[in-house]
Amino acid sequence: MPARIPEFALLEKYGIELIPYGIAKNEKEAAKIAKKLGYPVALKIISTEIVHKTDFHAVKVGLKNEERMLAAYEDIMENVKGHKVTGMLVQRMARKGLELIIGGKKDSQFGHMVVLGLGGVYVEVFRDVSARICPIKRQDVKEMLLELRSNPLIMGVRGMKPIDLDALELLMVKVCRMMLEEDVLEMDLNPVIFDEHGYDIVDVRLRRD
């Protein structure tokens, strides 16, 4: 049984696709996975003891070839020395595009809800989000988009193409289903990077208790 990331597995159960990845136990496996995914790749440590991976310098991105990947692997292992490590996450590099946040939480009065907004580093700056109580339909997502100040970015501004709205709507509906059926208490997919062809889910945070 290969090592698994429980959050990833949960998303996959609901047909929510993550950016292609593999989990490596050692450098040799990492090289094999990276070759399959295609360079450039990103490496991230998998460890229950390390929550804020960047603080530990346990994330390396944009690794263009095997040589650099292996060097980065070594660096990361050095940086997390003394901590219990499950493995190394090897991810294909995410596409360039619009960073959105898709989140969920369980409200004490209304139950599970989903949140959609401008993601990445802008999340806390603009706090531009729209929320709905689960379950939702695709039409609800269309209405949520209209509530966002960043709507023009999503719909395409100054010659930019609109993001893949179809994929976004389906993703939101799936996330709602997962929130309800798995009784998720808190969740962030941030960022989810969209372009006109689809999206890449780069990171997941999730709490179920």
Binding site: I101, G103, G104, K105, D107, S108, Q109, F110, G111, M113, V115, G117, V123, E124, R127, V129, S130, A131, R132, I133, D140, E143, E147, E186, M187, D188, N190, R205, R207
Partner: protein, 462 residues
């Protein structure tokens, strides 16, 4: 609908009322309540109940509920909390179907035991219970009035088609008083306090089915069951607009959340989401609540194209700015309308939209312009700005606006900014069902909400 919810009919339309704890002593709750019921000319039977008295305010007083010579529909409780469960049991046995418990001293001070005891009895007999710890109910049409505020201090609204649900008695009473002052009519009012067995959702459901209610106002600080509230709002708001004011917006956002989402989406976010999902009309202040309420006296517009008719250029520009900010459109006038406007303007006048008919214009110019705009298919809504201060206008302008509005072809909103004379004039418009606003942005914001709700309704019908 649950049986006890249906029984709210006994609360709002009782044929007889028992006042538990009726008292001859001025200032006592049981005195004010009984006095108000008598003073509001309630037409049914009134039974004071109190073992201490033979007569109260000229009525025969029964020592207990069992001894009442007749069967009251509604019992109003103005006795200490401890005594209420036993008397409620008697009421149940007697066949009472509606109860209002004004008294405090239950769950809100930690007496969960009393809550449980009372709830069990009320549920057993399927009694519709308002309260405890509340202001009670008002139904101007049936002259039911359990509000324990003296008439000379707190006005009572006229008969109308707005029903109002509020948790808070204080905010509720202020809104009742303001509605009376502004001439806004109420179908029903209820302050449900602790909402022990009937909560806001149950009452909204009842108002949804009530033929006298055309519009529902909701003041909410919190809910115990958000899911239920969302479902009921979704169901009812399709038929009648729900205008909601949520207080306590800051509470609930947890700074300790592990996720961005937990940090961004506080408890109010969930309320906001629910209002949006139900397409209910959320307002952010008491002023906005009244602004929105006012709008609903008008027929819904077919679209968002607005004609602005004004005798003051500046207010026209402010209105145009407000329309732009709310993504409403200035209508393009038809050649026929342009012709009419040209005919009433001096030769140097410019015809555009906003239509500035300048301060020399009198009521007749307004009438001609309004007729043209009502006939213009490119105009969905008319905002009429009136500088009541202008010497060319006399009070006949009010008649002209009301007459245009009474055709019910298109919504007409009025804006008049000024002092006492202007506001007295506005009050006349409001009383005749023409919404008036003392600032262009208030009018436009209300119009936007009204237009959005109208388009939601017409989509639903399709």
């Amino acid at each position: 609908m649950r049986e006890d919810v249906k029984n709210l009919k006994s609360v709002f339309e009782p044929s007889s009322i028992a006042v538990i704890g009726a008292s001859p002593t001025t200032g006592k709750l049981g005195n004010v309540v009984l006095k108000n019921i008598l003073d509001s000319n309630f037409e049914g039977k009134v039974y004071p109940v109190n073992p201490k008295y033979q007569n109260v305010l000229g009525l025969k007083c029964a020592p207990d509920v069992h001894s009442i010579d007749g069967k009251p529909d509604l019992a109003i409780f103005a006795i200490p909390a401890e005594l209420i469960p036993d008397v409620m049991e008697q009421c149940g046995k007697k066949g009472v179907k509606g109860a209002i418990v004004l008294s405090a001293g239950f769950g809100e001070i930690g007496r969960k035991d009393l809550d449980q005891k009372l709830a069990a009895i009320v549920r057993k007999y399927k009694i519709a219970l308002i309260g405890p710890n509340c202001l009670g109910a008002l139904n101007p049409a049936n002259r039911v009035d359990t509000l324990f505020f003296p008439f000379y201090k707190l006005g009572r609204p006229r008969i109308g088609d707005i029903s109002f649900v509020t948790q808070s008695g204080a905010v509720g009473s202020c809104i009742v008083d303001m509605a009376a002052y502004f001439g806004i009519g109420f179908a029903k009012f209820v302050s449900y306090g602790n909402g022990l067995t009937l909560d806001e959702s149950d009452i909204i459901e009842y108002f949804g089915a009530d033929e006298h209610t055309k519009q529902i106002l909701l003041y909410l600080e919190g809910t115990k069951d958000g899911r239920k509230l969302l479902e009921v709002m979704k169901k009812v708001n399709k038929r009648k607009p729900i205008i909601a004011l949520k207080a306590g917006k800051g509470a609930g956002a947890s700074k300790a959340a592990m996720s961005h989402t937990g940090n961004l989406a506080g408890n109010y976010t969930a309320y906001q989401a629910a209002f949006r999902q139900a397409k209910a009309i959320e307002v952010n202040s008491l002023a906005e609540l009244f602004h929105a309420v006012n709008a609903f006296s008008q027929p819904f517009p077919k679209g968002n194209r607005v004609a602005v008719l004004t005798d003051g250029g500046g207010l026209g520009v402010l209105t145009a700015d407000a329309l732009e900010a709310e993504s409403m459109r200035l209508a393009e006038l038809s050649p026929a309308t342009v012709k009419v406007i040209k005919s009433i303007l001096p030769p140097y006048g410019n015809v555009g939209n906003p239509i500035d008919i300048i301060a020399d214009s009198g009521p007749d110019q307004y009438r001609k312009a309004l007729d043209a705009l009502l006939a213009d298919d490119g105009v969905d809504t008319i905002i009429v700005i009136v500088l009541f201060q202008a010497p060319a206008l006399d009070s006949s302008i009010l008649d002209i606006i009301v007459t245009a509005s009474d055709q019910r072809k298109k919504p007409i909103f009025t804006v008049a900014v000024g002092g006492e004379y202007t506001n007295e004039s506005r009050k006349v418009l409001d009383r005749y069902g023409v919404p008036s606003y003392d600032s262009p942005d208030f009018a436009v914001k209300a119009l936007k909400r009204f237009t959005d709700y109208g388009s939601f309704l017409s989509k639903k019908k399709k």
